[in-house]
């Protein structure tokens, strides 16, 4: 009789605890096309970018469903405004157990010294501190001629988030016939906060004497970008950094830059600060930057 009661109790426990628990877990574990659904970082609403109330942005017409044509760039990629990230190549469907190279974003030099610029994406279902990228450069005979490595430019990579990397070498690009990639997550044991957003205030084209009708005084007129940070977290930050990646018309990473927050600002919770101004005067890069789309990452400490 006692055993029977115990069995009944176990049955009740199974019904009321285990089954709901499994049901709760199902969105994470359901697989379709070999992918696992994951939750992207929180999206940033426009009122959060300005730090004002939601009602201010009430539209004249509220549609029940998205318009037929979704927002996308020429190649159909979706643009995301997420905490700490704005750009393309994010996904809420991930492999579940690795970091991956975003093949479409890879830009490998075809001449001169071998160099790779691109994005890796966290396809785990939890954040990783950073990505460590290794590339075996292989010649036409199948021999490894160099092992090279690099780090992701952004720390605390959230599930589904892409982040940029750059690897430079002293190897002649013409000698490289193939590349084998391997990526590992690394733990740098530092506290980072990604609850911020970047707003580009000005982008001054390279070589242009005027900007919207005003004469510039910085001859020979480098490319300049000034970016404002908004700390969306509940805590003041000691510092922050910004990573910008420009992507060309094919969606490949063309250039990347990392700058620190302007030290003359205190980064209050729900406050703003500026990043150090981005200035590029390399004539092989600068003329293109104002023509290409950019992606931004914000990391606070």
């Amino acid at each position: 009789m006692k055993n029977k009661k115990m069995s009944l109790l176990y049955l009740v426990l199974a019904v009321f605890i285990l089954i709901p628990a499994l049901a709760f877990a199902s969105p994470e574990s359901n697989k379709s096309n070999g992918k696992v659904k994951t939750k992207l970082p929180k999206g940033v609403e426009v009122w959060e970018q300005y730090g004002v109330d939601k009602e201010f942005f009430k539209a004249d017409v509220e549609l029940d469903a998205p318009p037929v044509e979704q927002q996308s760039n020429k190649s159909g990629k979706k643009y995301y405004d997420l905490e700490g990230f704005s750009g393309y190549y994010a996904t809420d469907e991930v492999a579940g157990d690795r970091l991956v190279i975003v093949e479409e974003s890879l830009n490998i030099s075809q001449s001169g010294l071998w160099e790779a610029k691109g994005l890796i994406r966290n396809e785990y279902t939890s954040p990783v501190k950073a990505g460590h990228i290794e590339a075996d450069l292989i010649n036409k005979n199948g021999e490894i001629i160099k092992k090279v490595k690099g780090e992701s430019m952004v720390e605390l990579i959230r599930p589904g988030e892409p982040v940029p990397f750059v690897i430079q070498t002293d190897i002649d690009a013409s000698l490289v016939a193939n590349v084998e990639w391997s990526i590992k997550s690394t733990d740098k044991k530092q506290d980072f906060n990604r609850q911020g957003t970047a707003m580009v205030l000005h982008e001054l084209p390279y070589g242009e004497e005027t900007y919207n009708g005003e004469l510039r005084s910085d001859a020979p007129f480098p490319y300049k970008m000034s970016v404002q940070l908004r700390n969306l977290s509940k805590k003041d930050w000691n510092s922050a950094y910004l990573v910008v990646a420009w992507i060309d018309s094919e969606g490949k990473v063309f250039n990347t830059i990392k700058v620190d927050s302007d030290k003359t600002y205190h980064i209050y919770a729900d406050g703003v600060a500026m990043f150090d101004e981005i200035v590029v005067d390399d004539p092989s890069i600068a003329p293109y930057l104002s023509q290409y789309e950019y992606m931004t990452w914000v990391v606070g400490k």
Binding site: L40, K42, G43, V44, E45, V46, Q49, Y50, G51, V52, F56, F57, A59, D60, V61, E62, L63, D64, A65, P66, P67, E69, Q71, K78, Y79, Y80, D81, L82, D92, M199, V200, L201, H202, E203, P205, E208, T210, Y211, N212, G213, E214, L215, R216, S217, D218, S226, Q228, R230, T264, Y265, H266, I267, Y268, G271, V272, A273, M274, S290, Q291, E293
Partner: protein, 334 residues
């Protein structure tokens, strides 16, 4: 002796007056700003001054007002009242895309070639007394919000207050930080000095020295109308939309409303009259609300053979984020 002393004193006094440097913006005429627009600025300055760490509403209002003259009126003539419907006309570079021109590159190429292809069906990115622009501050703000000084002053106040608070330094350095989003003030050392001079001229002895121009109200001529959003399968309930028409704009129009057709590599075309409204939808993949601004150029207003519509994805730079279509019935005007 007394006469000689008096004469010497008078000469000294006159010499003193002559030798005091007069800033170019310190003219005999007081600075002018729209009547209710000034009330709007003062209201929001009062709301956000404490965010900035300031105690004076008038001082913060002066900081806010300073940017408006260089942006849309004149940096050297603050007695010209900034126009709430003022349109930026210098946006003739296509680095970030062609989409301000009707049909994108098609419209741009025809404009450069001097052909009249829906030339005044043009999307102006920088608008209003604060010249909010989708390339920076202005991203996500509708046409009505950047024109209506009640709305525009709120965003300007919050933005400047946050910058002023975050920046360390002298009051002048903190003011410069507040103006960071306005290139008319911060592009060069000279533009910054002009703005510091404007501030000094409109904020004297802890008082705001600005005259109200009663001919300019918060909307600056932007008219409220009733519209409905219509697709092939849906017609929305009617709502308030807004009509831009430069011919009824108030405030100083000397620059921005001239040369309406524009000139290649010079001024961009001045938009023909258009109706504007916003729509929104929920994007489940990011969990955020997405906004679009619609500008309808009806053929009955523009005189062109067809009506045209531009739609801006408001989280993007309009230079690459506007798409154009031919519309005859997408908007019901009531």
């Amino acid at each position: 002796m007394r006469m000689k002393r008096l004469t010497l004193s008078l000469i000294g006094f006159l010499f003193l007056i002559i030798s005091v440097p007069i800033s170019p913006v310190q003219k005999a005429e007081a600075a002018k700003f729209g009547s209710t627009p000034l009330d709007d600025v003062l209201y929001w300055a009062g709301q956000y001054k404490s965010t900035a760490g300031l105690t004076s509403t008038e001082e913060f209002a002066a900081i806010m007002l300073t940017v408006t003259w260089p942006e849309i009126a004149s940096a050297s003539n603050t007695d010209l009242t900034p126009s709430p419907m003022g349109q930026g006309r210098s946006d003739n570079k296509i680095g970030n895309g062609y989409q301000l021109w009707v049909d994108g590159k098609t419209g741009y190429d025809k404009f450069i070639a001097g052909q009249n292809y829906y030339r005044r069906v043009h999307w102006t990115a920088g608008v209003g007394v604060f010249q909010f622009d989708s390339a920076g501050l202005g991203k996500g703000l509708s046409f009505k919000q950047v024109v209506n000084t009640y709305d525009a002053a709120k965003i300007a106040a919050k933005t400047m207050a946050d910058q002023y608070k975050g920046k360390s330094g002298t009051a002048a350095e903190k003011r410069a930080a507040a103006w960071t989003g306005w290139y008319g003030c911060v592009l060069t050392a000279a533009t910054l000095q002009k703005c510091q001079d404007i501030f000094s001229s409109i904020y004297q002895n802890s008082k705001l020295v600005v005259t109200k121009d009663t001919s300019v109200d918060s909307m600056g001529g932007l008219a409220s109308r009733t519209c409905a959003h219509q697709t092939s399968s849906y017609t929305s309930p009617s709502f308030t939309c807004y009509k831009f028409n430069d011919s009824v704009a108030t405030g100083y129009k000397g620059y921005w409303a001239s040369n309406v057709e524009g000139t290649p590599n010079g001024m961009t075309p001045l938009p023909a009259p258009f109706y504007s409204y916003t729509s929104s939808y929920y994007d489940s993949s990011t969990g955020t609300t997405k906004y679009r601004e619609h500008r309808h150029f009806l053929k009955s207003d523009s005189g062109y053979t067809m009506s045209r519509e531009g739609i801006w994805e408001m989280n993007q730079n309009a230079r690459s984020g506007v798409t154009w279509s031919q519309t005859e019935s997408a908007l019901i005007q009531q």
